[in-house]
């Protein structure tokens, strides 16, 4: 057992857990802000997919990974603008809008993949972000190789967690976002621009989901394939509920999901006596079970999913 805990296999497992958690951290953190402002963005799966594709393609074309990252974020932002027009300005049903976005994105990406990479071909590989060893810290046994020998995007993801928590709970902007999600009518009466706040939160969330998608191609796989997101966008939304709209708890959820995912990958590799499809199911089943347990006690933003209109008399 001790051997296992210090062995290379275990370190590999932990490091993989972290990497698998990162796209979820990005997308979920953004969604925390979006939902805190009272908007449910169900389109994350679509945004992540587009972000992964655009990010990958832009990096391929430019030969610069950072251009890819920015392009992924920008594509997320653009889709979020569309969602915001429907959700915030027009007061449409947020569930329908989100699902519509996912379906549209899936169709669009399949099409573009066919056109640009000729579908059947294995898309060209580019070198993804490479790990950066942090001196001294990376030499600590187990922890070093787990946490301090990762690529730059992984470090950024983990630094964003406390940063976002501070913004949400300690700044005037965070207070505005939370207030708008609790009671938009009161917020409006107190001079807060509900529409602008929700737009910003939604655009920000879209950008983060685009970043999460770009990480999949640029920071993790180094390649693009159809359905690369594999439901991670939905999991990211589930994690927001799991995390009770709190960045730290969302991080815990992302690590849990990443851990189970990393575990099943290793079990598959070791040739466990189960069809691999069941292994693949494992993280998703676990997410559902945990959510059932947790979401019963949860209390989200009171105005989540409720469109705000100004002169409607109540």
């Amino acid at each position: 057992m001790i051997e296992f805990l210090t062995g290379a296999v275990f370190v590999g497992f932990l490091a993989s857990t972290i990497r698998l958690a990162v796209p979820l951290i990005f997308a979920s953190l953004g969604e925390v802000f979006t939902q805190r402002s009272g908007i449910l963005n169900l389109g994350l799966e679509g945004i992540m997919l587009i972000g992964s594709f655009i990010g990958f393609t832009a990096a391929n074309l430019s030969g610069n990974l950072w251009v890819g990252v920015l392009a992924g974020m920008l594509s997320g932002l653009m889709i979020a603008i569309v969602i915001a027009v429907f959700d915030v300005t027009l007061g449409a049903d947020q569930t329908i809008v989100g699902i519509m976005i996912v379906i549209a994105a899936q169709g669009l990406v399949t099409y573009l993949n066919n056109v640009i990479y000729k579908g059947g071909y294995v898309p060209p590989r580019i070198g993804g972000f490479t790990p950066i060893r942090i001196p001294l810290l990376a030499d600590i046994p187990v922890i070093g190789d787990t946490f301090f020998n990762q690529n730059i995007l992984v470090y950024i993801a983990f630094l964003l967690v406390p940063l976002f928590a501070v913004v949400l709970f300690k700044t005037t902007w965070g207070l505005r976002v939370r207030g708008v999600g609790e009671d938009p009518r009161s917020a409006d009466a107190m001079g807060v621009n509900v529409f602008r706040t929700r737009y910003l939160a939604l655009l920000f969330g879209g950008m983060m989901a685009g970043l999460g998608g770009a990480f999949l191609t640029l920071g993790y796989l180094g390649t693009f394939n159809d359905n690369i997101t594999a439901g991670r966008g939905w999991i990211a939304i589930a994690l927001v509920y799991f995390g009770q709209w709190n960045p730290y708890r969302v991080l815990a959820g992302a690590l849990l999901f990443g851990g189970v995912n990393a575990l099943q990958l290793r079990l598959q590799a070791q040739g466990a006596n189960l069809p691999f499809q069941f292994m693949l199911m494992l993280p998703y089943v676990l997410t559902i079970l945990v959510l059932i347990g947790i979401s019963r006690e949860g209390r989200g933003p009171a105005a989540l999913c409720v469109p705000y209109r100004r002169e409607v008399r109540t």
């Binding site: 300690k170 700044t171 005037t172 902007w173 207070l175 505005r176 939370r178 207030g179 609790e182 009671d183 009518r185 009161s186 917020a187 409006d188 009466a189 107190m190 001079g191 807060v192 621009n193 009171a302 100004r310 002169e311 008399r313 109540t314």
Partner: protein, 515 residues
């Protein structure tokens, strides 16, 4: 600063020719209004007279379709609540505009720039709140969460919030509707204090006694128009009532004396949770007899709503018993209770009492459609429904285009008449009437009240749950006072002292006088 509260030539607020339309409804019709510096100005009118709309325009929540607003002698463009705040206008709405999970301090600065931008400076805020508290006698703890405060305290937070944001024009919308008589007294003192310290207070109400108690001048609105603006000294209650309603008003309803019959409904040590999962009813016991109206008095939100729901079976009792004609129905389904003869006028007629997208006729058989004459086997007999619906529409004077009109198109008063018609038509032995006249105009209110008294004379047992204290006092034979879901008193309506009643509503237990 000038000492005199009056400076006649200086209308600090002037609204000229304000018109505002909501769909087909003309809420404000070329309205003029002006308030002066340092006065308490009452805006008096019935529900739907356009008072709240006018003040929502002043505070930037609504935009006028036509008309002009002038502040301190200059034209002002108020396009949003933020503009209003910058012009020194603070509005205390009937439904408080506070973020409930936030603390008092967080609500103060919500939406404002912080001196330590982008960081919040909640300690600085707390100091400033304490200062304002002291200066105007508004007791409030800046670190308390809004959801943990009493309604009266939340209202004080609203006033402080307006002052914190630099308001010197303070608008209050029906501020006493959620207060006990004592809390209302307190509030009036605060308003006088504010006016004395050179604030202008505009006070929306439909209660004549309050106008007489606190206002310097009064503007009366009716049907979206201004009827008059008068000084308090030049008018009296009867005069104001006439202007408000447009005809002579009787302040007393005829109530015959009846002798209560046998016990119809008995409640024994009833407990239930509220929507927040905390106990809303804490061991309530009472009995309701044939031919009497038992009024439930209490500040809104002290378990009255839950009581009606538990009696009807739409909310589970966690302990205790409910008996109907001596038969236990504590765990009976709502339908069983209806069939046993309980009538229900729910608090929220739109969400619970009716289905807006159904026709008026369909709404009259919502809780009888499964039995003859409306049901024949599995088929609905629409002809029977239509025949009865038309009779009820006539009998209860429901203003509608006909039995086929969608219920959602009816006005509040007519909807309530429809619910009343349906319930009375079923001829229940006990009638639970929750806020039966809330939001109705004087005419409809009078009608509903007369019908309730009629049911009482016919020997029906009526439980009247109402936040309108005057209604409880005029209609009831006995009054049950509740506070936080428990009884604090049971009084004979003939000898009620308002002061004592107010204390009970605020939670002071009194020995039970009668049983």
């Amino acid at each position: 600063m000038t000492e005199s509260p009056y400076r006649p030539a200086s209308g600090i607020v002037e609204m000229i020719g304000i018109t505002k339309r909501f769909g087909d409804v003309l809420a404000n019709d070329r309205l003029d209004f002006s308030a002066q510096w340092g006065e308490v100005h009452a805006l008096l009118g019935e529900n739907g007279a356009g008072k709240t709309t006018l003040m929502s325009i002043l505070s930037g929540l609504y935009r006028a379709d036509a008309g002009q607003v002038r502040l301190r002698g200059n034209p002002a463009q108020i396009h949003s609540p933020r503009d209003a705040i910058e012009h020194g206008i603070g509005m205390v709405h009937q439904h408080f505009m506070l973020i409930k999970p936030f603390t008092v301090a967080e609500n103060m600065v919500f939406g404002l720039k912080s001196p330590r931008e982008p960081w919040l400076d909640l300690d600085g805020v707390a100091e400033r709140v304490a200062e304002l508290s002291n200066r105007y006698g508004l007791a409030v703890n800046p670190r308390a969460r809004i959801q943990d405060l009493s309604v009266g305290a939340q209202q004080r937070v609203e006033i402080i919030k307006a002052l914190y944001r630099g308001a010197d024009i303070l608008v209050l919308d029906e501020p006493t509707s959620v207060l006990t008589p004592q809390e209302a007294e307190e509030l009036f003192k605060i308003l006088r204090e504010l006016a004395g310290q050179s604030h202008t207070v505009i006070f929306i109400t439909h209660k004549l006694d309050e106008v007489i108690a606190v206002a310097d001048r009064i503007t009366v609105l009716r049907d979206g128009r201004r009827i008059a603006t008068v000084g308090k000294a030049e008018t009296d209650k009867a005069d104001l009532a006439r202007m408000m309603v447009g005809r002579e008003v009787l302040f007393r309803l005829e109530k015959s004396s009846t002798t209560p019959g046998p016990e119809i409904l008995a409640i024994k040590d009833l407990w239930a949770h509220g929507a927040d999962g905390r106990p809303a009813l804490r061991g309530l016991s009472f009995s309701l007899r044939a031919g009497e109206i038992l009024g439930v008095a209490g500040v809104d939100g002290n378990g009255q709503g839950e009581l009606a729901q538990v009696i009807m079976g739409t909310r589970r009792a966690t302990a205790g018993h409910i008996y109907l004609d001596g038969k236990e129905v504590t765990h009976a389904s709502p339908k069983e209770r209806l069939m046993l003869g309980v009538g229900y006028i729910p608090e929220d007629r739109n969400a619970v009492g009716l289905i807006g997208s159904f026709s008026v006729g369909e709404n009259t058989i919502l809780n009888t459609h499964f039995s003859p004459p409306y049901a024949r086997g599995i088929m609905l007999d629409r002809r029977a429904m239509v025949a009865d619906a038309e009779r009820l529409i006539r009998e209860f004077d429901v203003k509608t285009a006909g039995h086929g009109e969608r219920a959602a198109r009816l006005s509040g008063g007519n909807l309530q008449k429809l619910v009343l018609a349906r319930e009375v038509h079923r001829d229940p032995r006990a009638l639970i009437a929750a806020q039966p006249t809330r939001g109705l105009d004087v005419g409809a209110t009078e009608y509903v009240r007369r019908r309730l008294l009629e049911q009482r004379e016919r020997g029906r047992a009526i439980l009247l749950i109402s936040a309108d204290l005057e209604e409880v006092l005029t209609l009831s034979d006995r009054i049950l006072v509740v506070y936080e879901g428990a009884m604090t008193g049971l009084l004979d309506a003939k000898d009620v002292e308002i002061g004592k009643l107010g204390l009970m509503m605020a939670g002071t237990k009194q020995p039970v006088a009668i049983h």
